[in-house]
Point group: C2
DNA sequence: TAGTGGTCTAGACCACGTG
DNA sequence: ACGTGGTCTAGACCACTAT
C-alpha cells in the first residue's frame, strides 16, 4: 500500500497507474487525488451501481478498491455528503441520498405557515401532456427548439386551501412513458418518483423569485382575485454533471404562508 | 508533542489538562477536540483579538498554542471557513472574513437584473432615529419591550430607480452613537460599517419572503401605484453566539430584477 | 528561499449501532 | 464482539505567494 499517487511529478520513476488521469506537468492541470476519487464515486452513483437509499461500500473497502488511503476516500465522501449526494450514519455506514426523507423535501419547497410550522400538503394533478419545447424552455433545458417535452400542471393544497400552482417542463427523451396516471398512482414527492422510476435525481436548483399580479387564469385556479399579489418562482433543476432536467414555474399564495430562506 | 488529548477515558493515567473541558464520562457530554478548538478561535474572533480583514496565526502556530496537532486545528478552521467566518488563501494565510468583499455583499442582497447581471446600487438615507422597541421588535431582538432601539429607513436605487425600501431596527445598547450623519459619511455596505465601527459582525440571517400589495406610503416612496405587487422580505440577522442583532423589513420592486436563490 | 495552506498516508483509538 | 464512521496524531511532500 505504499504506492505514491500523491507524487504527481516527483521521483524519476514515472509510475502513475493509480486511479484517474494523473498529470505529469503539475501547473495547468492539477486535480487532487480525493477529487478524482470523488469523480469515480459520482460515476457509480450516476450509473446506478448504488441506488438512492442503498448503502455504499465502507470507507476501507473503497480505499482498497481505489488503491488510496482511507483518509483520501474520507475526504471525497465528506464533500459528497456536504453536497447532499450521500448521507453518513455513524455506526451504520454511508447511504445514497434520496428525496424520500423529510429533510430532503423541505430543501425544495420552503413554504411555512406564519407560525413557522411545516404543514403537509396534497397535490392535485391538472394536466400532463407531451408537446414541443418553446425556444425559451428549450434553451433552459439545453434542448433544441421543438424537441419533445412533457408538461405537468398541478395544484398544491395546504390545509385544504389552494396555495401553489406549478407548471413543470421535463425533457421528453428522459421522461418517456410518464403519464398522468403514473403520476397519480405514485405516493410521495415528485422528485422521489423521478429518481425511482426514471433514474433522474435532482441535485441542485436555482430559483428566480418575483412578486407579480395574478393573471385571470392563474387567479381562478388559486381562488384569489385577479391582480392579487403572488410569489413567482422560476426554478431550473440540475442532475449529475450539472445538466438541467427540469424547468418549473410556480405561483405561491403567501397569505398565511411564507417562503423561508437562510443566508448562511 | 505526544500528548494524548484524544483519549478522553483511555489509559489509567488521568492526565487531560489540555484545552477545554475534557469529559471523563464519554456518554453524555462528548465534544470533539476540534470543536473545542473551534470555540476557542471563535472567542478570539468575537473578542476582537483578530479583526475583520486581518490575518490570524498560522496553523502550526495555533497548534502549538492549543497543544494539539496541526490536523486538529485544520479541521476547526475548515468548519469556520465553511461558515464564512474565516477565509483561507493558499500560500498567504487565513484571514478574518469581512463584509467589504464583493462576495460577502451578494450573500445578503441577492437582487439581480433580469439578464442575470449584478448591478450596483446607491443608498438614500431617509431617517435614523432612536425609539422604544415595540413588543414585536423586542421579541425578535431578544430585548425587553420598550428597550431603546435605533430605527433606520433607507431607499436603494438600482440604475437610478427606486427599487428597495428598507426599515431596520437595531438594539440601542449596542449601536450607541449611531447617527444619520455617521451613516451618510461611511462609504461601503451597512454591515461593513457595523463590523468596523460597532464591533458587531453579522454571521447569518433568516428571511421570510412574501408577495404583498404596496400600501400607499410604501408605494409613494418606491414610485409605484398603490396595490402594486412587492416582494416583502423580513430578515433577522445574528452575530456570534446566535444572538439576534438586526430586524429588517424590506420591500422590493421586482420589475426588471429578481431575488436569486440557490437550493443546494 | 522560506512560510503558508493543501494533500496524502498510516496507524491508533473512540463513539455508535447491531448482532 | 465486531464493523462502521468519527477523531487525533505525526510526518512527508506539494502548490502557491512573497521576499
Amino acid at each position: 500500500m505504499s504506492a505514491n499517487p500523491a507524487s504527481n511529478a516527483n521521483s524519476p520513476a514515472p509510475e502513475s497507474g493509480t486511479a484517474a488521469s494523473a498529470s505529469a506537468a503539475p501547473s495547468p492541470t492539477f486535480s487532487p487525488l480525493y477529487q478524482q476519487i470523488k469523480g469515480l464515486i459520482t460515476q457509480s452513483l450516476e450509473s446506478g451501481e448504488w441506488k438512492p437509499g442503498e448503502i455504499i461500500p465502507s470507507e476501507v473497502e473503497l480505499a482498497s478498491r481505489y488503491k488510496v488511503s482511507q483518509g483520501t476516500v474520507r475526504k471525497a465522501i465528506d464533500e459528497l455528503a456536504a453536497e447532499n449526494l450521500l448521507v453518513r450514519r455513524q455506526g451504520k455506514g454511508t447511504f445514497v441520498a434520496t428525496h424520500n426523507e423529510e429533510r430532503a423535501q423541505f430543501r425544495f419547497l420552503r413554504l411555512l405557515a406564519d407560525d413557522g410550522a411545516e404543514h403537509p400538503h396534497i397535490s392535485k394533478l391538472l394536466e400532463c401532456r407531451r408537446l414541443r419545447a418553446t425556444a425559451d424552455i428549450a434553451r433552459q433545458l439545453d434542448l433544441k427548439p421543438a424537441d419533445p417535452v412533457v408538461q405537468i400542471r398541478r395544484l398544491l393544497q395546504f390545509d385544504g386551501e389552494n396555495t401553489v400552482l406549478d407548471e413543470i417542463w421535463l425533457p421528453g427523451a428522459v421522461f418517456r412513458g410518464l403519464t398522468i396516471e403514473r403520476l397519480a398512482d405514485y405516493k410521495g414527492p415528485l422528485y422521489a418518483m423521478f429518481e425511482a422510476e426514471f433514474g433522474t435525481r435532482m441535485i441542485r436548483a436555482t430559483e428566480k423569485i418575483r412578486a407579480v399580479a395574478a393573471e385571470p387564469a392563474v387567479a381562478d385556479l388559486l381562488s384569489v382575485p385577479t391582480g392579487f399579489p403572488l410569489l413567482s418562482v422560476e426554478r431550473v433543476s440540475y442532475t449529475y454533471g450539472d445538466r438541467p432536467v427540469e424547468v418549473r414555474r410556480g405561483w405561491y399564495v403567501t397569505t398565511g404562508y411564507y417562503y423561508q430562506n437562510d443566508l448562511s
